[in-house]
Symmetry: C2
Subunit: 406 residues, 2 copies
């Protein structure tokens, strides 16, 4: 019996030959949480939205395995980093979009653990001249240790050459958690690199890179004007501290400010404006609860901790972020888009979320979209064509394109 999600269908055809699932009666206590989600159909999918109204979501490329991040190249093609350690090329990403079957050579060996492996990919601001591509990844070390590493190489003739680690964070035991890292180039020419902390207290510890956002020169060295340079007991790379798991890190295209988003555990996802030397509170001040139930902190705020500009309770497992500045979606101008991988700790509840701010960057409303696709959305970017591009964090992952529909 084909087990469909019975309560919706799409304007276009349903999933092509799906898996035949045998529905076995199981004791209620043994039934898993979450609705078995059928594989993403071929699309395209038409949605009606609150202010921009009709949009079309197309599956631009399939067969990506837990794609983590994307970066557009000047010629309109796109790099996609796959968690297992492959860098892929989508040719003509804003047009016919063809995924090259073979990965781009030169990516370092990654260590897969939890939700990470190969993570972010970003181009140097002057890529057109220097061909530099930056990657973050879990670097395997001796005794099964792992470190977050920032590497860069030159993308030439379809391969990465001269690849070097320019920064390697602390080595950690393999059962440490919170391996995640995103990067963003600031208008100051520096590269900002996040490093996760998950449920450890290390985000408050100035002697470790865990749970921090770091600021480096584009060669990985420490800029002398970093906020803690010369402070005893502080790693000089640290720019801000008290972060849990940052899965979105961008420079706001209008203001130039550095924004992150980070996941709380059970509640407490945040968007923050990142300022030098500030403490963002994890885990001493959080809006969330531990997975087992107790509040992370007795109260959600304390003196000296920066408040988020947006937070979520329950969590949406926020990941990816883009500020829409294009002209293809007039009703979305300057709105912020984030991905959601899972809402309220219930599987199958990923979606795209849109946040509207007033001109003081105070939020007015939030719109949840694409829930019917049930995909974990990990990445959101605006393309050079002024459309939105998303990645789904699934075994059978996909690149999605959103465009307005008449």
């Amino acid at each position: 019996m084909r087990r469909l999600r019975l309560n919706f269908c799409f304007a276009s055809s349903l999933a092509s030959a799906g898996t035949v699932l045998l529905v076995v009666a199981a004791a209620i206590a043994q039934q898993p949480i979450g609705v078995p989600v059928p594989p993403l159909a071929n699309g395209p999918f038409l949605f009606d939205t609150a202010e921009q109204h009709k949009i079309r979501v197309s599956v631009v490329a399939k067969g990506l395995e837990h794609p983590w991040s994307l970066a557009f190249l000047p010629d309109g093609s796109m790099l996609v980093a796959e968690r297992p350690g492959r860098l892929r090329l989508v040719r003509d990403a804003t047009g016919d979009a063809k995924l090259d079957p073979g990965p781009i050579a030169g990516v370092p060996t990654v260590r897969l653990i939890g939700n990470s492996g190969l993570m972010d990919v970003a181009l140097h601001p002057r890529f057109a001249e220097n061909k530099l591509v930056y990657l973050t990844y879990n670097k395997p070390g001796p005794n099964k240790q792992i470190a977050t590493a920032l590497a860069r190489g030159r993308l030439e003739n379809g391969a990465l050459t001269d690849v070097k680690d320019i920064f390697v964070a602390d080595w950690l035991p393999e059962d440490a958690n919170g391996y995640n890292s995103r990067i963003a180039f600031g208008r100051d020419g520096m590269i900002y690199v996040s490093n996760g902390a998950s449920n450890s207290d290390s985000a408050q510890d100035p002697k470790t890179h865990r749970g921090k956002i770091m600021r480096l020169r584009d060669d990985g060295t420490v800029p002398p004007d970093n906020p803690f340079v010369g402070h005893p007991g502080y790693r000089p790379e640290i720019y801000s501290l008290g972060h849990r798991n940052t899965l979105g890190l961008i420079v706001h295209p209008v203001t130039g400010a550095l924004w992150n988003n980070e996941n709380g555990p059970n509640g407490g996802d945040e968007i923050n404006v990142i300022l030098p030397g500030r403490n963002y509170g994890w885990p001493v001040a959080s809006y969330g609860r531990k997975y087992e139930g107790p509040r992370v902190s007795e109260v959600p705020w304390r003196e000296g901790i920066e408040q988020p500009i947006v937070f979520w309770v329950p969590s949406i497992a926020v990941a990816g972020m883009a500020v829409y500045t294009g002209d293809r979606f007039p009703a979305w101008k300057n709105n912020v888009f984030v991905g959601s991988m899972r809402t309220g700790e219930i599987p199958g509840t990923g979606h795209l979320e849109r946040i509207v701010f007033n001109d003081k960057t105070e939020e007015l409303r939030r719109e949840t979209m694409l829930t019917e696709l049930h995909q974990r959305i990990r990445e959101v970017r605006q393309g050079p064509d002024g459309l939105l591009y998303l990645l789904t964090d699934e075994d059978a992952g996909a690149l999605l394109r959103i465009e307005p529909a008449p």
Copy 2:
């Protein structure tokens, strides 16, 4: 052209002859927020849910105008209060369910304003003996003033007789807001009555009934053991203070504790355990923002304020509450259900929400359901048949029944 919400359909037939909407191209700036939601179809609707799996939602009665609350009678029929001021009878509500065309006589004249008019309906715990039914409503007064009133009468031979106001709160000008009131009988035999405050500061003012939960004897007089009896400057009816708009008020069927839920403005909906004499913070400590953007309070907590056990950011416009104690949905035992009328300030986003707690009443996860119906859900109750009954707060409102499906 029939403007359907294109991205879903239901296992049963779609909406019967829907309204034909002419799609007129309008300047983007003039397009309203929210997706035009087609009228609720006839159903039934099949949904797959995270832990209880297949459920069927039936439209048990239609043609209710902004139904606000419901109460089951011992014979299995049901009283439904309609906002415009009518009390209705649904015969055999757990079976064939027929809505009596004529309202029940005897309801006082109500003043319609904002989202309220006739509000809550509840039976005296010993209704079987005394036939007493309690109502809250907006009482019209001289000079267009309005007061929240608690009335009771005897339900005999299909009519309310001997109807008297047993408690009338402060008279307010008609442009005051926050007219809402729910009632619950406690295990101590007292009646708990909430009174809204919306965006005024009066919830902190002990000299007014606004923004309070009050505790009265079943004849409306003040119990001598109320927490502020004898405190100068305090209205003696007050049980707890600092509430914004309480749209859910129940006695927890397992613990006997009094629980409320209340709406924040733009974020900050809460569930609270109500204890005597305590301050729940509105508007000096809130998780929400004002509709225009600024935070309601600089920080969301302060000393002396009770923390909610559950809160929502963004808001879901929470209303109605039931703790499931039946046996028809084994996976939902002791879960809390609340209605949502609107999420993130976007119209058309009402739903049913289920909250799972551990045995310390710490929340573990939250499941959003019935989003595809796009109905404002204002009331949730468990029926004597162990099923769930909901009311939709719509011009064309309905009574919904949820049952497990094979």
